[in-house]
C-alpha cells in the first residue's frame, strides 16, 4: 500500500469506528477509548495533513488543537441552536473528517509543497 494512503485510511477507520461505537452503543470501555481518540486527533489530523507539514510534532500539535476546535464549534453550534444530539454531532464531525481525508487522497501534492517551499 502506498504511504500516501496509509494515514487517510487510518483516519477513516478511526472515524467510522467512533461513529459506529456511538450508534451501536458498545461497551463504555471500548467506546470511550475509540471515540475519545477520534475526537482528540481525528478531525484535526484529516485537515492538518492536507496542509502538509514535514515535522511530526508540529503536525500532531496542530491536529489536536484543530480537533478540539472543531469539536467545540460543532457541539456549541448545535447546543446554542437547541439542536443538540450527540449522534448528530458525531455525524457532522465524521463527515468533516471524511471530507478532509478525501481531499488528502485526491490532492496529489499537499498545500505546503505546491511551490516546492516546504
Amino acid at each position: 500500500m502506498s504511504r500516501h494512503y496509509q494515514w487517510p485510511i487510518a483516519i477513516i477507520v478511526l472515524a467510522l469506528a467512533a461513529d459506529l461505537a456511538v450508534v451501536a452503543d458498545v461497551h463504555v470501555a471500548i467506546r470511550a477509548v475509540v471515540v475519545l481518540s477520534f475526537l482528540v486527533v481525528g478531525p484535526g489530523l484529516a485537515f492538518v495533513r492536507l496542509i502538509g507539514f514535514t515535522s511530526g510534532y508540529v503536525e500532531y500539535t496542530l491536529a489536536i488543537a484543530l480537533s478540539l476546535t472543531l469539536d467545540t464549534i460543532v457541539a456549541e453550534t448545535l447546543i446554542m441552536a437547541r439542536l443538540w444530539s450527540v449522534s448528530t454531532a458525531m455525524a457532522i464531525l465524521v463527515f468533516l473528517t471524511l471530507v478532509g481525508v478525501v481531499l488528502q487522497i485526491v490532492s496529489p501534492v499537499p498545500l505546503g509543497q505546491r511551490t516546492g517551499e516546504e
Partner: protein, 626 residues
C-alpha cells in the same frame, strides 16, 4: 549577524567507545526507573493524613526518588548530543506525569471543588440540550452559561464517550492539558530556537514553574492551550519580514529613521527572531483559518484569555514580529461580538462590578492577604511567590545575558510583557497577578533556559553544566511541589465526602436550599440550577456574619434558612470544608466543631446522613433553626 544557532547535534562527530555507549544508555534506563518508582509511589497513599503543607506531607520516598532520577537524567541527557529528541520528550512526559498526574491517579475522585461545579455545567447541558444565559440561581455559574464553549466540548466528550456524567473524564484534565501543552510550547520555541538544549530546558522549566493550577477541568485550561497554539502559529508562519517602506525612508544604502532606532534596538536586520519556516500562501490561508476558528472557541469559552491573546498578538504586530497585522483587530471584533450578543445577559447584570476595578492598578495587583492563613499555608503561599520571583529573576538574567551577546529575542520579550496591561483592567478575583505570570511563563522560561546556554557550543563531557541544571531543577521542583500541591488537603475529597454529596443530591427536593460550611465540597455537579446554594463561612460571607456565626450559630443559621421559602433546607459539613476553614482561618479554631455540635443537639435539625468525613443535616420544619 543573525543570532540563529546551529543544532548541537551537528557537531562533534566521532566514534563511540563501548563505555560511552553504556553511558548513552543512562537516559533510557533512567526514564524507565523514574516511571516505575513513580507508579510504585502511588500505591497505598494515606491521603487523609495530609497536613497544611499539602500532598508533599504524605508522598513516600519513592515519589521523591522518581523525581530526583528524572531530573538528574534530564540534566545529563540535555547535554549529550547523541540523545535523540524523543528521549528528551520522554523525560518531559514523565516529569509531567509525576507532577501533574499524581493527584489524578492517586485520588480516585475529582479534586478541587470548582471542577465539580464545571461537571455540573456539563450536566446542565446534558439534561437540557442547551444553555440558559439568563439562569441566575448561582451567579458563579451564570458566567459559564454565557461562555459555554468548553462545557459544550465537555458534553460532547462525555456523551460520545458513553458516560452519563463528566466525572470519569474530568480527573484526567490536568494530565491531558499539560501533555498537549508540550507540543504547543515546542511550536512556540521551535519558531526561532534551534539550540535544542535551550528549547527543551525551557519546556522543562515551564513545567517546574507552572504552579498556578489552571489545568483542571475548566475553560481556562482549554483556552490556554489554544492560546499557546495560536501564538506558536503566528511566530512560526506569520513572522514579519522587514518592510520595504521603512527601508526607503532613508537615503540609499542607509536605514530609514524608524528602521534606524528600531533596528538598533531589535538588532539587524529586524532581530534574530524571524522564523525560517517557509510556507506557501495556501498554507498560510489554512493556518489563518485555524487561528480564527481556535480564537472563536477561546472567545466563547473564557473571559480573560481573549484579552491575553489580543494583547500578545497585538504586541507582536506593533513590534513588527507578526505579519498578520489585522489579526488583533479581528480578534477584538470576535470578542466584542460574543460579549455583546451571546454573553449580554451576564454582562448587563454584572457590568458594575466588572468595570469597577478598571484602572485600579494597585488593587488589581494585590494578591490575597496572607495574614489570615494558617502558618503552614503562609509558607506555601510564600514559596509560590518565591518560585515566581526566582523564575522571573532567572528569566531576566537570561535576557540580559543574551542581549549582551547581541541576541535580540524581541518576539519573546514582547510576549513576556504583553499580559501585564491586564493588571489595569480587572483584579480577576484577586488572582490577576498570577494569571499574568501564567500567560508570560512560556517566554520567561525560555529566557531562564537561555541563561544556562547563551550561545551554541558543542556538548562537552564537563559535569558542571549538568550539575547546575540538576541543582536548579531540584530547587524549582521543591518549590513547585509545595506550591502546586500546597492546598491539596482541601482540594482532595475522600470517597466518604463524595458519598455524602451523592446522598444530598439524590434526596434533596428541587428548590431546596443547600448550605455548606464553605463551598469546598463536591457541590453543584447534579441539577445545580434546581437548588439554592449558600455557605456558613465561605465565599461572600462578611466578617460580621462570620462573627455572628461564632457567637450565636443558631441566629446565623436561622437568618440563612428564613431568607426564602424553600421546600427543604440541608446543611452539609465535611472534612474538606473543615480543612478549608482551618487553612484559611475562616473561623476561630474549634468553631466549626461547635456548630456541628449545635446542629446535632438542635431540635430544629435532623442528622440525615453521616460517615466519618461528612454529615448532612436537614431542617425540621416549624420554628426555624433555633
Amino acid at each position: 549577524m543573525r543570532a540563529r544557532e546551529l543544532d548541537v547535534r551537528q557537531t562533534e562527530p566521532g566514534a563511540k567507545s563501548s563505555t560511552s555507549k553504556l553511558v548513552s544508555l543512562i537516559p533510557y534506563a533512567a526514564v524507565a526507573v523514574a516511571a516505575v518508582l513513580w507508579l510504585l509511589s502511588l500505591r497505598g497513599l494515606d491521603l487523609r493524613q495530609m497536613n497544611d503543607y499539602g500532598l508533599v506531607s504524605v508522598l513516600p520516598p519513592t515519589y521523591f526518588a522518581a523525581l530526583a532520577v528524572i531530573i538528574a537524567s534530564f540534566a545529563f541527557a540535555i547535554n549529550r548530543r547523541e540523545v535523540p529528541d524523543w528521549v528528551l520528550l520522554l523525560h518531559v512526559v514523565v516529569l509531567v506525569a509525576i507532577i501533574y498526574g499524581t493527584p489524578s491517579l492517586a485520588y480516585g475522585s475529582l479534586r478541587y471543588s470548582w471542577a465539580w461545579k464545571h461537571v455540573g455545567m456539563v450536566d446542565f447541558i446534558q439534561r437540557h440540550g442547551t444553555v440558559d444565559p439568563n439562569v441566575s440561581s448561582l451567579a458563579d455559574l451564570s458566567a459559564n452559561q454565557n461562555w459555554p464553549g468548553f462545557f459544550t466540548l465537555g458534553a460532547l466528550l462525555t456523551e460520545a464517550g458513553g458516560f452519563s456524567t463528566a466525572l470519569p473524564i474530568a480527573p484526567l484534565a490536568p494530565l491531558f492539558f499539560n501533555l498537549v501543552i508540550i507540543g504547543a510550547l515546542l511550536l512556540i520555541l521551535g519558531a526561532f530556537v534551534e539550540d535544542r538544549r535551550v528549547k527543551w530546558l525551557a519546556v522543562w522549566i515551564f513545567f517546574l514553574a507552572n504552579w498556578i493550577g489552571q489545568d483542571y477541568f475548566a475553560p481556562q485550561a482549554l483556552s490556554y492551550y489554544l492560546f499557546l497554539v495560536i501564538v506558536g502559529i503566528c511566530l512560526t508562519w506569520f513572522s514579519a519580514r522587514p518592510r520595504s517602506h521603512l527601508r526607503v525612508a532613508g537615503a540609499a544604502g542607509t536605514p530609514g529613521r524608524f528602521e534606524g532606532w528600531w533596528g538598533r534596538l531589535s538588532g539587524p536586520p529586524y532581530g534574530s527572531d524571524h522564523s525560517v519556516h517557509e510556507s506557501t500562501p495556501l498554507q498560510r490561508v489554512a493556518l489563518m483559518a485555524m487561528i480564527i476558528a481556535s480564537f472563536a472557541v477561546i472567545a466563547s469559552s473564557h473571559q480573560l484569555t481573549p484579552l491575553a491573546a489580543i494583547l500578545s498578538i497585538g504586541a507582536l504586530v506593533v513590534a513588527y514580529r507578526c505579519s498578520a497585522r489585522s489579526l488583533p483587530v479581528l480578534m477584538g471584533v470576535i470578542t466584542a461580538m460574543w460579549t455583546a450578543y451571546a454573553a449580554w445577559a451576564f454582562l448587563s447584570n454584572n457590568l458594575q462590578w466588572i468595570l469597577h476595578p478598571f484602572g485600579q492598578l494597585n488593587n488589581n495587583v494585590s494578591v490575597s492577604d496572607l495574614s489570615r492563613l494558617s502558618e503552614a499555608q503562609r509558607v506555601v503561599a510564600l514559596t509560590a511567590r518565591g518560585l515566581t520571583l526566582l523564575v522571573g529573576a532567572l528569566g531576566l538574567a537570561g535576557l540580559v545575558r543574551r542581549w549582551r551577546s547581541g541576541q535580540r529575542d524581541i518576539s519573546y520579550v514582547v510576549l513576556a510583557i504583553a499580559p501585564f496591561p491586564m493588571l489595569g483592567v480587572t483584579s480577576y478575583g484577586g488572582e490577576m497577578a498570577f494569571r499574568v505570570y501564567f500567560f508570560a511563563l512560556p517566554y520567561v522560561a525560555f529566557f531562564a533556559a537561555a541563561l544556562f546556554y547563551p550561545r551554541l557550543s558543542a556538548s562537552s563531557s564537563s559535569w558542571r553544566m549538568p550539575a547546575v541544571v540538576a541543582a536548579v531543577s531540584l530547587l524549582l521542583a521543591s518549590a513547585m511541589l509545595l506550591s502546586y500541591y500546597g492546598r491539596e488537603r482541601m482540594n482532595y475529597f475522600t470517597p466518604e465526602e463524595v458519598a455524602a454529596s451523592d446522598y444530598l443530591y439524590s434526596h434533596a427536593a428541587a428548590g431546596s436550599l443547600i448550605i455548606g460550611a464553605t463551598y469546598n465540597y463536591p457541590s453543584q455537579y447534579r441539577s445545580y440550577e434546581q437548588y439554592s446554594q449558600t455557605t456558613l463561612a465561605g465565599q461572600g460571607v462578611t466578617r460580621g456574619q462570620l462573627q455572628r456565626l461564632s457567637t450565636s450559630p443558631g441566629d446565623a443559621i436561622d437568618r440563612l434558612v428564613t431568607t426564602g421559602n424553600y421546600p427543604a433546607v440541608y446543611i452539609i459539613i465535611t472534612r474538606a470544608q473543615k480543612a478549608h476553614i482551618e487553612m484559611d482561618n475562616l473561623l476561630p479554631p474549634g468553631n466549626i466543631d461547635r456548630i456541628e455540635q449545635f446542629l446535632k443537639q438542635s431540635d430544629s435539625f435532623k442528622l440525615e446522613y453521616s460517615n466519618r468525613d461528612a454529615e448532612v443535616f436537614s431542617l425540621v420544619r416549624q420554628g426555624g433553626a433555633r
